[in-house]
């Protein structure tokens, strides 16, 4: 029996929290990039510049909401919503603390993988609907990249599933009470982190939107709030990636002294920081470099990891 009142309360809290977080992250990333490049970043609007995203939002709402005459109108308008909606849907299965989860699905990981695959559609059809060269090239690259990373993203998660014996994310976190899965599943973590960076289109794997080559790739034709949706979607998926890493490999809410919710938020923000640090440090890979790296290095490693984990689990259980 589902307690609808509680579910509604959790949903509203998560939605409000996540959208605020996504807006804040835009500012956080710009400040952190600034600090790591020996400058300040936005520090004018509000204390330390914290209201920068609000100012940007007001500006972006006053922009002309332009649809290119050559675009496929319906798809073009629909696409930005897909990014945000699918990413927010993924958060439905994420347990922040025990019991605080919108839908405690027993196939949580599969739902997450499905939603992240759906989010990839927005990139592909967004670039297609824009009907321009750069956007099309961007979505072509996104498709190629998608085929390589989706495979090892799923494979690298299966190790944790084998160890925990469940697809349910809460069960996976509980299975890490004594030992975080980062220790037995380091290869899985590495593979998932790489796939997640590619999924969120972050440097060094932001090949589909490579500014220096493709202007902005698949969202080159988008302006106003439609572009804003892509932007918010990117930061939501960064948050999602960090939360998933924490849940799957770093013991979720488990930790000494502090309350569980603080542990979860702390670990998540460390990974958000790490992702921004990666962006500040690493240059973009070439499209073919990422593809061959994905197929020839990460994917075999993920397979070996899965095989060894499976063997160990079998040996332990018999």
């Amino acid at each position: 029996m589902i307690d609808w009142g509680r579910t509604a309360y959790i949903t509203v809290t998560m939605l409000g929290g996540l959208l605020t977080l996504a807006a804040l992250l835009i500012w956080v990333e710009r400040r952190l990039l600034g600090i790591w490049q020996e400058r300040y970043g936005p520090n004018r609007v509000g204390p330390g510049g914290i209201l920068q995203s609000l100012a940007d939002m007001i500006k972006i709402f006053t922009k002309e909401d332009w649809i290119p005459p050559f675009a496929d109108k319906v798809v073009f308008v629909l696409t930005p919503a897909i990014v945000v909606v699918t990413t927010l849907m993924s958060f439905a299965v994420i347990p922040i603390v025990p019991g605080f989860v919108v839908a405690d699905l027993n196939i949580g990981i599969l739902f997450f993988l499905a939603m992240s695959s759906l989010a990839a559609y927005s990139v592909i059809i967004g670039g297609w609907a824009s009907n321009s060269k750069f956007a099309f090239l961007g979505s072509l690259r996104a498709t190629a990249q998608l085929l390589s990373y989706e495979v090892f993203m799923g494979l690298s998660l299966m190790g944790t599933v084998l160890l925990a014996g469940s697809f349910n994310l809460s069960d996976i976190v509980d299975a890490q009470r004594h030992l975080w899965f980062i220790v037995p599943q380091f290869l899985g973590f590495a593979g998932f982190f790489i796939a997640g960076l590619a999924e969120a289109h972050r440097t060094p794997f932001d090949v589909p939107e490579a500014e220096t080559e493709l202007v902005a790739g698949y969202h080159a034709e988008y302006s106003g709030m439609k572009f804003g949706m892509f932007f918010v979607g990117e930061y939501l998926s960064v948050t999602l990636l960090s939360a998933m890493i924490v849940i799957l490999f770093f013991g979720g809410w488990h930790g000494p002294l502090l309350p569980p919710v603080l542990w979860f938020l702390l670990k998540t923000s460390v990974f958000i920081g790490l992702i921004i640090l990666v962006r500040a440090t690493l240059p973009r890979l070439r499209s073919d470099q990422f593809l061959s790296f994905g197929w020839k290095v990460v994917m075999p490693l993920a397979l070996v990891n899965l095989l060894v984990t499976g063997g160990i689990v079998l040996w332990r259980d018999t």
């Binding site: 600090i35 790591w36 020996e38 300040y40 640090l277 690493l282």
Partner: protein, 178 residues
Amino acid sequence: MLLRYIRDLLLGLWIVFKRTFTKPVTVQYPEERPYLPPRWRGRIVLTRDPDGEERCVACYLCAVACPVDCIALQATEDPTSHDRRYPDFFRINFSRCIYCGYCEEACPTYAIQLVPDFEQSEYARRNMVYEKEDLLISGTGKYPHYNFYRVAGVKIRDKDKGEGEHESPPVDVKSLMP
């Protein structure tokens, strides 16, 4: 091989992360102002000599030296009020000026000078055109003691030829006497 890549990767992350603890190089301009050296080439002014008269003798050398032709002036003489040649109008179009300082180099009387001030933004382009009243300052600028007419050997109101500092009396070219 792979281990070397991973080491380099982590090393790069660490090097960037260390930047957290360095001070930004940014100068936060409106609050924090950069030091501009005295010879910094900024806004152009017309200076006066120590007696308070205009230094400019309207020789047009600055207008000739100007690579973008932003200086316009016209010489005039008015014996009743001035005892010397002076510019009737002197106009600098700062929307064209490239602050190269050639006018200052060309000026024989140190009249035109560039000062360390760059805050010349205007809302209307026509406000970038400075007239003589806007350009003329009451001081001597960079050369406080230089007084062109005191050393130039020409006659002005209170000084005849040959009466200035380092000047000898004029030679009478029609006389045979040494």
